[in-house]
Symmetry: C2
Subunit: 420 residues, 2 copies
């Protein structure tokens, strides 16, 4: 019988059984973290050659001594490598430090302080609004929150953000841009359809400097075969808006989150202006780490083979999450979820008003989840129902226990709510 169809007596009886199960979970003294998308140690060990291989020649292919100052936009082989991997013209690319998040923040700061392409700096407007497909990535929203932008949540559909809504909102000149994780979105694992990408490229925007922050964080992070993604630069060019997209990517979840290489790609028209401003902030990023990383990842085929190996670590974890959800919550009417085919997260929508309680129950039994609300601007999930599961770090055995507890917490929270 579905829980939401039970009468009060049945619910009380169920609650007693769930409470007992929960108590026995608490006695197990779990201590697990499913809160952040961190690769597990086994996965990192499989990249150890990056650290252990002798460095070899300190010179880049053009003779640049990678140890010394210079080459602001990145070594030629690094630009070419990322260009090949992602299908981006290397001339668009700037190779950065270990964090694409920093490249996004820095670009947002430049837009705010200086503006680009002859447009007024965003600080000069009384109000700046930014579109935030939600649920989304908390660290994106933190950047636009920090700058005081009004963040407008846009509902996600199974093919990306609700484009009717995006088009309607983008007509407002105060709306200056949108955050996008187009492949295996954080947290739902949704992939943008060709139609979504094309509409983003061609839609009419009220602001001449409307910007798409295209964080393709999981661009090669497939778990069950490749999912195609329409080229955002092509979509923007076809739509007559060649400077609209800023493309971000990194090797944080290809090699090491703490010591990878990030990139930033732009339209041709703004590239030189952005590079010039960047040249005030730094002389050059870490070129030694560019060589170290590129020499390990070599080329697209080598990298895709490496990512297939990474998927071997991750797939059983996703399978555990999804099969436990299906077994424990399938057909209960208590939760819905997408089935990601890549990326680092699974998102679960529980009954409205229950997400915070699920996090609390899980925490009290030793399983740390991403705080409820974190996936929404200002940490405010209007319905208090979205939960993010990050299955990458724990082992499969730990995850099995944690997911059982998670599902139990979802049921318990639901019963508590229905009894109130």
């Amino acid at each position: 019988m579905r829980i939401c169809e039970m009468d009060r007596k049945e619910l009380i009886a169920l609650k007693e059984r769930l409470d007992a199960a929960y108590r026995s979970f608490r006695q197990r003294g779990l201590k697990l973290d499913m809160s952040r998308g961190k690769p597990g140690p086994d996965q990192l060990d499989a990249c150890s050659a990056v650290l252990d291989a002798p460095f070899g020649d300190v010179r880049a292919e053009d003779g640049t001594d990678a140890r010394n100052y210079g080459v602001l936009e990145g070594l030629p082989e690094a630009k070419r490598y990322f260009g090949e991997l992602l299908g981006i013209d290397p001339r668009r690319i700037i190779v950065g430090g270990n964090a694409s998040l920093t490249l996004m923040y820095d670009m947002m700061m430049r837009l705010y302080v200086f503006g680009v392409g002859g447009n007024a700096p965003w600080r000069s407007f009384p109000k700046v609004k930014f579109l935030c497909p939600s649920p989304g990535y908390d660290r994106h929203f933190a950047i636009t929150e920090e700058l005081g932008f009004e963040m407008i949540p846009v509902r996600m559909t199974s093919s990306g953000p609700d484009m009717d809504e995006v088009e309607r909102l983008a007509a407002d000149p105060a709306v200056k841009g949108i955050w996008c994780v187009p492949l295996y979105s954080n947290p739902q694992g949704i992939c943008y359809s060709d139609d979504t990408v094309k509409r983003l490229g061609k839609m009419k925007c009220g602001a001449p400097d409307f910007k798409i922050f295209w964080d393709n964080a999981y661009g090669v992070h497939h778990l069950y075969g490749e999912t195609p993604l329409y080229d955002i630069f092509r979509a923007c060019e076809e739509g007559g808006n060649p400077e609209r997209a800023y493309y971000f990517f990194s090797t944080s979840k290809i090699t090491f989150p703490g010591g990878g290489v990030s990139i930033f790609a732009t339209g041709y028209g703004e590239h030189a202006e952005i590079a010039k401003r960047l040249g005030i902030q730094t002389i050059s990023y870490d070129k030694l780490n560019q060589l170290r990383t590129i020499r390990f990842l070599k080329d697209k085929p080598t990298t895709m083979a490496h990512m297939a190996k990474m998927a071997e670590f991750l797939r059983p974890k996703f399978d555990t999450v999804l099969s436990t959800l299906e077994r424990e919550l399938g057909g209960t009417g208590l939760a819905t979820w997408e089935k990601p085919r890549g990326g680092y997260f699974v998102a679960v929508d529980v009954l409205p008003g229950c997400a915070k309680r699920v996090v609390e129950l899980a925490a009290e039994a030793g399983v740390k989840l991403t705080p409820a609300g974190a996936t929404y601007p200002l940490h405010r999930d209007p319905e208090d129902r979205n939960l993010r599961i990050a299955p990458s770090y724990p082992s499969v055995a730990e995850l099995a226990a944690a997911m059982e507890l998670f599902c139990l917490a979802v049921k318990l929270a639901a019963v508590e709510k229905l009894l109130n």
Copy 2:
């Protein structure tokens, strides 16, 4: 006979001799770069163990997996190492990426966009002024230029910036801070006296958030034994201004300019606020490179022994520059210079109106110098007389030739000027 005392006929005869010497220089087809303070390849080779040593344990001393996300402010051993090396309480320190310049730029951006310590963001003032001891570091000035600050040059004395002038100017509430390279200043190699540092710490400032950007880039880069430097944090605390100084340092010229580790130290009162804002820009800097670098540099004694080895490469170069200057230009009245006891530069003041011409003459004979004016705000040397020599990159033999040409160019430019 001193050139400035010659009559026209003597000058013409001299010019003919100098022209002939210059022509023969041009025929030698030199191709040398004395424009930037880059370590030479021999110096970098002496650091090769950083790259070639097996990485070893990926865990920091507190068990942190340096490969993964986290630890925003830097690994404990990295903080402790820099604290010991520089005499800074590790609790003040944030360990950054490969460029202290970026830490300075980012801090300036935070002051501009957000403000600190409850003070209004600098963007909210109709005018922001910044003190620029000159000649100084062009990349510092580029940051304050980028933000549209009015840069006020302050004359350098042999004990640091003219403090009477600094104190007079700092009383203006629009003056928000000062750039300082306190040891072996770029480009003159001047060291700030205790009195200068103490006066900076205690002077009365019109702006409550007056900031000292203390770029101790050459803090351990002694060539002829250690030069002491008064603790800027102590000076500020003794002066009742504990939040006044931001301290920057890096291993760019200890290990690799392209792949070192930088730090940023603050007052205790602002530290948490700054770290919180930094946490929006990044999850963590490259902790693997922190371990790699710290394991090579180990502790203060090991680092000072390493720097003594670095000095073995640099001292003959500085000796060549200074002895050639003395031999060719000493007593001529055509040039003055400080004799740096460390750092990466020598600055030469030539006759007013001659610096640009010297750079031009050197370039035409194959020696690239830092552009004249670069050492002043907005690239405007009011007297067109200051030249920066960066002797670190060329070999001693190359440098000997380049310096001969340099001195010849100084004489030739002077004679041309006197004849006009």
